[in-house]
Symmetry: C2
Subunit: 189 residues, 2 copies
DNA sequence: CCTACCGATCGGTAGG
DNA sequence: CCTACCGATCGGTAGG
């Protein structure tokens, strides 16, 4: 059983790590966020690093689950690619702080945890590569498409959403998915 | 006249800020990098913030000059867009530390400098939007192209290069420009 | 969860 | 550019 209070601490940590970065957040900052002293946090967590591990691993899990769900669908590559994109956008928009910490602060992890996260990230990217390969084999995607490069470029667009998207802006969530899919599929020519 | 030593300090600061972030770099770390004590740095710079300002403003200047050069060309929108993309890739690959610090650490700037950098960034993006608008007006780009969204997505791909590109990897610099241009123009369908 | 700390490190300064 | 510092803040602990 994980206490509610511990969950609260991890959630607030994700918020501050996302906003100011790991090194820009002190345990006293985090305590203030929760209405207690920095030293009191050690009743709930072992260390500051421990908090980062919890947040980043949650991010890794969310993305992994999203990819697994999308890959479980059968159908044309375009539809499976849409499912992957839709899932990725969903994870970011529904878990903004966790996603931002996962994307920007994983490098601060100790070597062991960092290696694990990099492995998970590579496994996640493989989901995109495999669906793009499927499209090429089906003949629905251009035959000179390089799955590796396209995956990196597509994920570049998806991951950057964290940096500019405003939930109350002109672009709805569904629009966003369609714009990215359309640019990737048809281009602007 | 700016002393060579001051240039050295700023350059080393860019390297460490890019690698570990502003808050992850101490003045003593920076001194060690240059073979002197942290306190000795204050003969060359006023403060740690001052160093960040220098690096980020240099980044802003490099991008701005690149855009100005690309906009100075006349011709079809496709060619001008290629010039913009080529310039952006060039700035990142030739000034990796400065570009990374500009892209990731500008948020740490004091409000005044941060506002200036955000303004410069918006002006830079306007170069992309205007060329895309030109393409739509020419009829060479799809009429339902939204310059604003396409610019953000394109710059997402370009800015992320800093995160994954290896100069000695399989993808040459020219290849990289062509892949991004091709995906943006034609898509993979 | 607070009180009362700890040693280490932070950005920065005075004086040479 | 170093010596010798400064006060402030850091992550973390013992004991209640």
């Amino acid at each position: 059983m994980v206490s509610t209070r511990r969950r609260d601490v991890i959630e607030a940590a994700g918020r501050l790590f996302a906003e100011r970065g790991y090194h820009g957040t002190s345990m006293r900052d985090l305590g203030r966020e929760l209405g207690l002293l920095g030293s009191s946090l050690y009743s709930h967590v072992e260390s500051k690093q421990d908090l980062l591990v919890e947040v980043v691993e949650e991010g890794a899990r969310l993305f992994e689950e999203s990819a697994a769900g999308a890959l479980a669908t059968t159908g044309a590559a375009v539809d499976r690619l849409r499912a992957l994109i839709d899932g990725h956008v969903g994870v970011i928009l529904d878990n903004l702080d966790v996603a931002r910490t996962f994307l920007n602060e994983a490098r601060v992890l100790d070597p062991g945890h960092r290696a694990r996260v990099l492995g998970a990230r590579d496994h996640y990217e493989e989901a995109f590569r495999s669906v793009i390969r499927q499209g090429v084999e089906e003949g629905s995607f251009r035959s000179d498409t390089d799955p590796k490069t396209v995956t990196i470029l597509l994920l570049s667009m998806l991951n950057a959403i964290e940096r500019w998207y405003h939930p109350h802006g002109p672009l709805g969530r569904g629009d966003l998915v369609e714009r990215i899919l359309e640019l990737t599929l048809r281009g602007i020519l």
